[in-house]
Symmetry: C2
Subunit: 204 residues, 2 copies
């Protein structure tokens, strides 16, 4: 067993490890510096390569850039998340498209009948939409950090209310909100404890 420090066993260099995971933190306050569309496109261009089951890619991203759009969101955000959401340069509403199977003829073309496997199973589609979109949100957190930005994911909000307000088509489930920007000097507290290897991983 090698006793090298964990970061030396990785192919990814230490600076990138720090940028994406070790020094990166969930930001609770942001500077006024804007996040422009070219940056968001660059993040998408990177993380869209991440794998999903049947290449379904159910994640949909609604960017609230205008103050009018942000004002429509705030009533559904928990009190503790409201000020930082109002002050972030950009807020993303992250949703799963439960009708992802409609895209399978293009996205999974080597199985021409795949779409039909799911037409009669809305509950199964929703479960897969939620799972695969959550995977993609994991990639997105990494991608936002890869752009040198800080992500501020937030689970404290009224998902049903946000769906009614922004996705009246009924085919989207809102999973998470995420503020995006440059972290302000007071953006975070101390890092919370992480579970050690022995409590997460078991080997048989």
């Amino acid at each position: 067993m090698v006793n090298a420090p964990a970061d030396e066993l990785l192919a990814l260099d230490r600076a990138a490890q720090d940028l994406l995971f070790r020094a990166a933190r969930t930001a609770n306050a942001f500077t006024d510096e804007p996040v422009d569309e070219a940056q968001v496109r660059a993040v998408h261009d990177l993380v869209r390569n991440g794998p999903t089951a049947m290449n379904a890619q159910p994640l949909r991203v609604l960017l609230l850039r205008s103050s009018a759009a942000r004002a429509r969101l705030l009533p559904y955000v928990s009190a503790g998340n409201r000020d930082k959401t109002a002050g972030a340069p950009l807020t993303a509403v992250l949703a799963a498209d439960v009708d992802w199977h409609d895209r399978l003829p293009e996205l999974f073309p080597h199985r021409p009948g795949a779409r039909d496997w799911f037409t009669g199973d809305p509950a199964g589609r929703e479960a897969q939409a939620r799972f695969n979109a959550a995977l993609q949100i994991g990639y997105l957190v990494v991608g936002v950090r890869a752009a040198g930005l800080a992500a501020g994911p937030m689970a404290g909000f009224d998902a049903t209310g946000v769906e009614r307000e922004f996705f009246p088509d009924g085919r989207h489930r809102v999973l998470l909100l995420m503020n995006i920007g440059r972290p302000a000097p007071d953006a975070w507290r101390e890092r919370l404890p992480r579970l050690p290897y022995e409590e997460v991983v078991t080997t048989l």
Copy 2:
């Protein structure tokens, strides 16, 4: 609007972008080279820093290293995934702990009563376990690639059967299987199409 190539707008260098996303692929065949425990520990040490709601970290990883353990899994794996799972140097069973709230006193110590908010809500706990563990699986895919390894996530298996076989305590939900190793020369087909920015991102 800057017209620079997308990769130049990122802080992460091009080699790391390739390692984690652009050149990385889901592997369907692996070499015999083993994946040792030190590598898995290094991956965990990196990705455990990824954020989860309330710092809950519900993902649990069961590594099937012995051939006896692998043989217990194979009957529950879909026919198309069986050979590559039998042949991979390591297979991880990725599960969510639905009793994650029991760890909140240590993991979210600044809210001493947080555990009690969830004791009477098993359905809500399961939904949060599934969502946050899926986020963590997204980080894990990136982490496996950061170690210079290929991940082979697989959704085609009998989750109830795997839970009964490996998690008889009833408190874990199996979300995904993942083969891990060095890709064989014939590890993948051409990359499937990805959705363009305009079909994923909307701005208000």
